[in-house]
Symmetry: D2
Subunit: 299 residues, 4 copies
C-alpha cells in the first residue's frame, strides 16, 4: 500500500508545486480585496479559488482564503512573503501562506476503539487524505497490527491520570522527533493537560458524539435510547483548555429509530464520528479553516 500511496503523493506534489494558499483575517474595511488581488497580480500569481466572508461589513472582521498559482513559485516565495508584510501591516492582518506541495505531517492518537483510526487510514490509502501519517500513538496495543502493516510506526504509551505528565512528555518528544504539524485524536480517551494543549494550539483535532438533547455524563447512548431520540450526531472541534468546548469544525447526524438498540445507536454514532472526523481533518490539511474567537470559518 505504501508504494501505491507514495505514487499518489508524488503525483499530487508535482501537480501542485506552484500552488499556494493565502489565509487572512483582519478588521473589515474597504480596499482589502483590491490591495490583495493587486499584490498577487503584480507577483504574477493567478487566483485559482477565492473565498471570503465579512462578519459584518460595517466594522466587523474580514476573512479570506485565496488559492493561487504562480510560475516558479518556490524561487519567489521568500520575496512574496517579504513584500506582503507591507499590506499586512496596513490592514492589521493575521495571515498565513502555505505551499500546497508541503504535505502536512500527522500524528494520530487512539485508544481502544479503532473505528476513527481505520477511517483515516482508509481515506489515506484511497488517496483522499493528503497527509504524511508519521506515527500513531496509543495507550493500547489493539491497533498495532493494522497500523504497522501499512508501514506506519506505532508507539504504545500506557496512560492514566496519575502519570499524565510523563506520558505527555514522551508524546511531546515523539511529536518533535517526527516534526508533526497536526494531531488527530481519533477517539483518544485521555484528558490532555493545558500545557499539552497550549503547545499545540489549534493543531489538535478531536471528535466526540453529540445528541439532541445533550446527554451529558455517563452512558449517553443508553439514555438517548431511553428517550427515543431520532438522531445521533458527532462533532469535530479543535481542542482548547475548555474540555470539548473548542471551536467546532464539523458536525453531522444520522437518523435512528426505535428499532435501534443502545448498542446499535453506538455503532451508528461511530459511523458518524468516522465521516465527521475525516471531513474535519481534510479541511485542516487543505488550510480551509480559520479559527476566530471560539468559532471556525471553513472555506
Amino acid at each position: 500500500m505504501k508504494s501505491y500511496m507514495q505514487e499518489k503523493l508524488d503525483t499530487f506534489k508535482q501537480q501542485n508545486e506552484n500552488r499556494a494558499r493565502l489565509l487572512i483575517n483582519c478588521p473589515d474595511q474597504p480596499g482589502i480585496v483590491a490591495a490583495v488581488s493587486k499584490f498577487l497580480y503584480e507577483h504574477e500569481a493567478n487566483i485559482i479559488e477565492s473565498n471570503q466572508y465579512s462578519v459584518d461589513p460595517e466594522g466587523g472582521e474580514f476573512f479570506i482564503r485565496i488559492e493561487f498559482e504562480a510560475p516558479d513559485l518556490k524561487e519567489k516565495a521568500e520575496k512574496i512573503k517579504q513584500d506582503f508584510q507591507e499590506i499586512a501591516r496596513a490592514f492589521s492582518m493575521d495571515w498565513k501562506l502555505t505551499y500546497v506541495d508541503e504535505i502536512k505531517k500527522m500524528a494520530i492518537f487512539v485508544s481502544k476503539e479503532p473505528h476513527c483510526l481505520l477511517e483515516l487510514l482508509w481515506e489515506w490509502q484511497s488517496g483522499d487524505l493528503m497527509a504524511d501519517i508519521s506515527l500513531v500513538i496509543s495507550n493500547h496495543e489493539t491497533s498495532r497490527d493494522m497500523v504497522e502493516r501499512l508501514g506506519i510506526p506505532y508507539y504504545y504509551i500506557p496512560a492514566n491520570k496519575d502519570i499524565r505528565a510523563e506520558v505527555e512528555q514522551k508524546q511531546i518528544e515523539l511529536l518533535k522527533q517526527y516534526d508533526v504539524d497536526v494531531i488527530v485524536l481519533a477517539r483518544y480517551m485521555q484528558i490532555l493537560t493545558p500545557h499539552f494543549v497550549d503547545v499545540h494550539k489549534h493543531k489538535i483535532i478531536n471528535i466526540h458524539h453529540s445528541f439532541l438533547p445533550a446527554f451529558i455524563g455517563a452512558n449517553p447512548y443508553e439514555r438517548a435510547y431511553n428517550r427515543g431520540v431520532k438522531l445521533i450526531g458527532a462533532t469535530s472541534h479543535y481542542v482548547t483548555d475548555d474540555l470539548d468546548e473548542g471551536p467546532i469544525i464539523e458536525q453531522d447526524i444520522s437518523r435512528v429509530d426505535h428499532k435501534d438498540s443502545a448498542e446499535a445507536m453506538k455503532k451508528i454514532g461511530q459511523s458518524v464520528e468516522r465521516s465527521v472526523l475525516a471531513r474535519a481533518v481534510k479541511w485542516h490539511l487543505e488550510d480551509r479553516i480559520i479559527v476566530h474567537g471560539n468559532k471556525t470559518i471553513v472555506f
Copy 2:
C-alpha cells in the same frame, strides 16, 4: 380552499370506509402474532400493512400496528371490538382500534411566530394533512387573518403566568366544545399546567429548536452562532409535566455555516421546526405512534 379541502376529505373518507388500525403493546411472548392474525382472518379482515417491534424478544415488550380492511367494517366494528377483548386479556394487551375515516379534530395553539401554523395550514390545504382543523387558539391577534380566510375559527385568549388558570379554563372549554382529539402547540410560548397536560395525556404535540451541543437558557441562536455550530435542529415531542422532556416523536437538522448570522440561523431553525412538526403531526393522525415509557415507537 374550504371546498377544495372538503372534496379531498370526502374522497379520502370514501376510499377508507372499510379500513381500521389496530395498535397493540404487551409483554412479549410467543404466539401473539399468531393469535392476532388468526383473529383478523376469522373476522374477514385483510391485513394491508403490518409493523411490529420487540424491545427484546426474550421477556421484553412487544408492539404491533396493523392496518386492515374488512368488508362492511362499520357493521361489525362493535363485534370485532368485543371479540378482541378475549385475546387482549390473554396477552395483557394495551390496545386501540381506530377507523381511518374518522378524521381527527385538531386544535392549533400559536403565539406570535406564525411559521409552524402556516406550515400546518399549508399541508392541510395541499391535502397532505388529513385532519379537521377545528379551531386555532392564540394569545396574539397576529394570525387571525390567515386563519379566518380559510374558514377556521380563531380564538384570541390573552395569556400570562398570572392568569394561567383561567386562561386554561377557557381553552379547555373550547376544546370540549369542539370535541378536539389532538392539540398542536405550533410555537405556543406559554407554559401549560400539569392539570392541562394530564387532561390531554399524549394528545399534545410540541415543537422546539435543538442544538448540538444544547444551548440551554436565553439566546440559544446567539450562542450557537458564537460557537460556530454547523447544525441547527428541531425536536417534536408529546408534552408531559417535565418541560420539553416528553417522548420524542421526530427530530431533524439543517446545515448552517459561518456565513449564517444568528438571525439567519433562527430562520433556518424555523424551517426545520416546520417540517419536523408537520411530520410528527401526520404520524399522530395516522395512528403510527405508540408511547412507551418516555419514548415513542413510530411505525
Copy 3:
C-alpha cells in the same frame, strides 16, 4: 395576506436600498479581481459577498458575482455603470449590474396540477420568495380561486397545439403589459414555440421529473415502479429550444421503496418538484445564476 407581504417587501427594499450585485463572465486572465475590486473600492462600494470560479485558470472562462453596498447607491448608479465600461472592455466582459431593491416581476404559468404553483405562493406568503408575482396564466380554471384570494390576477387562456401561435400572442401581450422579468413554468404542460423561447431567453424556468435511469416517454412513474427504482428526482432548468435540454439550475431526489405505488411515487415526485423549483426560482431572483454554454454557474 397581501398587506403582510407588502410589509415584508417594504422592509426588504428599505434594508437593501444601497445594495447591488455585479455579475461578470469573461476569458480568464490575471488581474481581473484586482481591477474589479480596485474599481469598487474607488467608488466607495464595500463588498458584502463575493463568489468566483475559473473553469480552468489557464485560458478558460472566469465568473464572478459580487454583492456590494455603497452609500447613496442610487445617486451614483449611473456613473458606476458608465465608469465600469472601461474595465469591461479591457477584459472583454459580459456583465450585469442589478439593484437588490428592484424586486423582479414574475409570471407563473400553470396547467391542471397546482402543486408547484402552491409552493411558490406559499414561499411568497412566507416572505421567502422576494418577487412581485404579477400574474398567473393558465390553460385551466382550476387554480383561479387560490390565486385571486391572494390578490393576484389570474388569466385563463385555453391552449392546444392548433392555436399555439395566437395563445402565445395573448401571453406575450400580458407579459409586456405587466413588464414581466421572469416566467416560471409551474407544471405548464404546453410546448412553447422557438419564437416564445427566443423572446425570453434565459428568463423561463421549467421543472420536470427525472429518474435514474430515465424513463422517457409515456407513463414514467408506472415504468419506474415496475423497475423498482429507489429514487425519484426532479430537474429545474432554463428553457431553450431543445425541449427539456436547457441549462440545469437545480436537481434533487427523494427516496422511495417497494411499498410506494406508482401513484405514491408520483406524489413524492411532485414534492421534489416543488422544492427544486422553489430553490431554482429563488436563485434566479437573487441573481445567483450565470448561464454559460448549456450549463449554469450557481453562486
Copy 4:
C-alpha cells in the same frame, strides 16, 4: 486482519446459531400471516423481526420476511422445513429458509478501478460485512497486493471479448471450487454471457453510475459536466441478460456543482458507487431482498 475478522465472525456465528430467516412470496389471500405465525409458534420459534408487503391486498402478490429464533434450531431444522411444505403448498408459496450463522461465500470480480473492491474489503475488515470473501477474480493485476495482504486468494484471468467463453469457463470452475454463493461485480468491465448469468441467477450483483438525465454512451461524466448536472448517482442491481436492466437493489446520489470538473465528478461518482454497492451487498447477505418480476422488495 484475518484473525481480527475470524474473531468477529466466530462471535457472530455463536450469537446467531439459533436464528433463521424465512422469505416467502405468494398470491395474496386472507390467512397467510395467521398460518405462518401459528406454524412458527407451534415450532417454538419466536419472531424477532417481521416485514411484509402486499402489492395490492385484493388479488396481488404477498411478500414476507421473518427472522426468528428457536432453541436448538439446528436439531429441528429439517423437521421445520418438512412441516412447512404443507403450508407452502396450501398458499402456493415461493419460499426460502436460511440460517443466519451460515455465512455466505462471496467472490468479487474487479477490473482496473479498485474503489469498489476497497470499500468491500474495508467493510469486511470493520466487521460490517458478514461474508466469507473466498476469492477475488480480476482481468488486471492492479489489486493483487491489497487483496493478498488480507489473506484472500487473488486470481488473475486476462479477458477480452474474443476469449470470453474460455475465460468464463475458468471463472465458473473457480466459483465451483470455492462453492461461492454470491458474485459481486465491483467495477468488472467485461460483459458476461447469458450462459454465465443463467447459471448464477439473482446471485450476481453489479454497480454502475447513473445520471439525471441519463447520459448513455461514451464519456458520461464529460457530458454530465457540460450539461451542468447537480447530481451524480449510482445504481446497484442484479444482473440479468438485459445489460444493466436487471432488478434495482439500491440507488443513491451525491450533489455536485459547477466547481466540480468532469474528473472530480467521476471521483464523486466512485464514492457513491462504493456506498451503494456496499449497502446492496449487505442486504443480499442478510437475505433482505426478494426479486419479483424485474423489481426487488427490500425488507
